[in-house]
Amino acid sequence: MSQIFAYILHKGGVADDTALELISAAKKIDADASLIAVVTGSGADLDTVCNDLTASYNEVWKIDNAALAYPNAEVIRKLLVNIIPGGSIILIAHEHFGMDIAPGLSIKMNTSFVSDAMDIEGRDGGAIKIIRQEYSGMASTHVTCDAGDGAVISCRPGSFQPDESKSAGGQLVDKSGDAGDLTANRTFLEVVQAETGDVDITKSDILVSVGRGIEDEENLEIAQELADAMGAVVSCSRPIVDAKWMEKSRQVGTSGQTVKPKVYMAMGISGSFQHLGGIKGSPFIVAVNKNAKAPIFQVADVGIVADILDFMPELTEKIGGM
């Protein structure tokens, strides 16, 4: 029987949502494969995560080592090369840790690599057929990955259905003794917590969120006027923070804030998956964008193809006159 490995992210004794999503991804490659979760860390939290996962994975490989208390990709890459057999298929979530470890892991395992898989159409002999996106989500592609010598595939969080069946009845295997050399020329120091800003966008029911379409820092006023008329707060997407036009604390997305408003006004935001990953609780999404192909229109409830610099003042005026 073939084996597929999944590297599990976890925090505070709880596995990340992607732990169950990777099961679906693995089953799309080979429905009969034996699924092995690889879980690294240290102490009681690690034990809790591993025990929980035995319901979902055929085997759970636990690697407990003080050097693994914080997931340093350079250390964990060495560990995975030490314990996972050559020629294996390894799945990992495509987020900041996966992006850090996966490309190098594929080189050290001498396998092929596909990143940010959105769907898997199955396996034909040694080749795995995968769907992914290019050009900020504006075009999709089928890629084939020769997995004859194994493969590392990173999977987009939220793209695969979590497998909740919990019927694996798997066994826990302690592989701590096989960890091998875990030294690396990159040393973790600390996590610096995000600064809190003057306004907490996570508390607002209505967000007027601006993206690249705002074009100029001065135009932020137009968004603020609309927000004032609506009783909303202004938030933004990543490019606005990169340009230093707004504080990081106003950024919606996986690398910014997670918000749960009732209404989300996406103004000139294209809708990258990292941005959408920061919007929870299924708000009513209004998208205004002059690019009719913008991915935001795929997830919005109501869309308007227009230049926000023309549209927002008109909307503000109308609401103000009500």
Binding site: D100, F113, V114, T144, N185, M230, V263, I285, V302
Partner: protein, 263 residues
């Protein structure tokens, strides 16, 4: 510090609507506006700032066709000292590993303390930096949004992780770092700056110059192949409001009232 920055010429997604060709073989490339990959531009700015602080040089390198020379000149106008174009018909349709192998061969001809790439480019894979580092047995970090030079052998770096938090580490030199947008404010490049470097010689290196086996790169060396482009099913998608601006706004206000979007 001798710094190499790997850059790529890409269609500018902020300036273009990307359309898939009818037969799915490619995107429509007529009339596309190309520019330097946004992440790479931040990487070059970071390299220039480090050089200006501690001395040394900045070299920009790209794997691409002859038109890619324009992005090298642009980055040299920004302040990079040297440019190298890696170009050969045999490089076409290389996968990420192939591109990393081409870069590795060039890097081994020189001596660099720090190698930077953008965190990702137009294909969104974010793979070349990490692959290159592993191939060269150099330490690596991705999504880097802060670099402080500690001394000749060590950098203190920050990585962007979830929720706006930053993971701080020390990393030994030489190393490979993939740079996240927002790490700095890339300087403006004017037309005069580009004119200044218009006649600077940019060497072009191919398969033979790099001593690469031709079957290690390009289509033949690729284990990951793109089969087509397609436009995904829209699912339910948004209800697109149409009509005059006034009609659109009236419809939108009805929606907003119903959903609690107007107080």
């Amino acid at each position: 510090m001798e710094i190499l920055v790997c850059v790529k010429r890409v269609p500018d997604t902020a300036e273009n609507e990307i359309e898939v060709k009818g037969d799915g073989t490619d995107i429509e490339r007529d009339d596309l506006v190309y520019s330097v990959n946004e992440w790479d531009n931040y990487a070059v700015e970071e390299a220039i700032q480090i050089r200006d602080k501690v001395g040394g040089s900045v070299t920009v390198v790209t794997v691409g066709d002859e038109e890619s020379e324009e992005v090298l000149r642009r980055e040299m106008a920004m302040g990079a000292d040297n440019g190298i174009l890696l170009s050969d018909d045999a490089f076409e349709n290389s996968d990420g590993k192939g591109v990393a192998a081409i870069l590795k061969a060039e890097i081994e001809k020189g001596k660099y303390d720090l190698i930077l790439t953008g965190a990702q480019a137009d294909d969104g894979a974010g793979q070349v930096g990490g692959m290159l580092a592993a191939m060269m047995d150099l330490p690596y970090a991705s999504l880097v949004n802060l670099i402080d030079v500690v001394d000749d052998s060590t950098l203190k770096i920050g990585r962007e992780i979830e929720g706006g938090n930053q993971e701080m580490s020390e990393i030994g030199l030489p190393c490979v770092l993939s740079i996240q947008t927002g790490i700095n404010e890339p300087r403006y490049v004017g037309i005069r700056g580009i004119r200044k470097v218009a006649s600077v010689d940019i060497p072009v290196h191919g398969v033979a110059d790099l001593g690469l086996p031709a079957d290690a790169v390009g289509e033949t060396g690729a284990k990951v192949k793109r089969m087509d482009y397609f436009v995904p099913e829209m699912g339910d998608g948004a209800e697109i409001l149409e009509g005059s601006t006034e009609e659109i706004i009236d419809k939108l206000i009805e929606h907003l009232k119903a959903k609690g979007g107007l107080k």
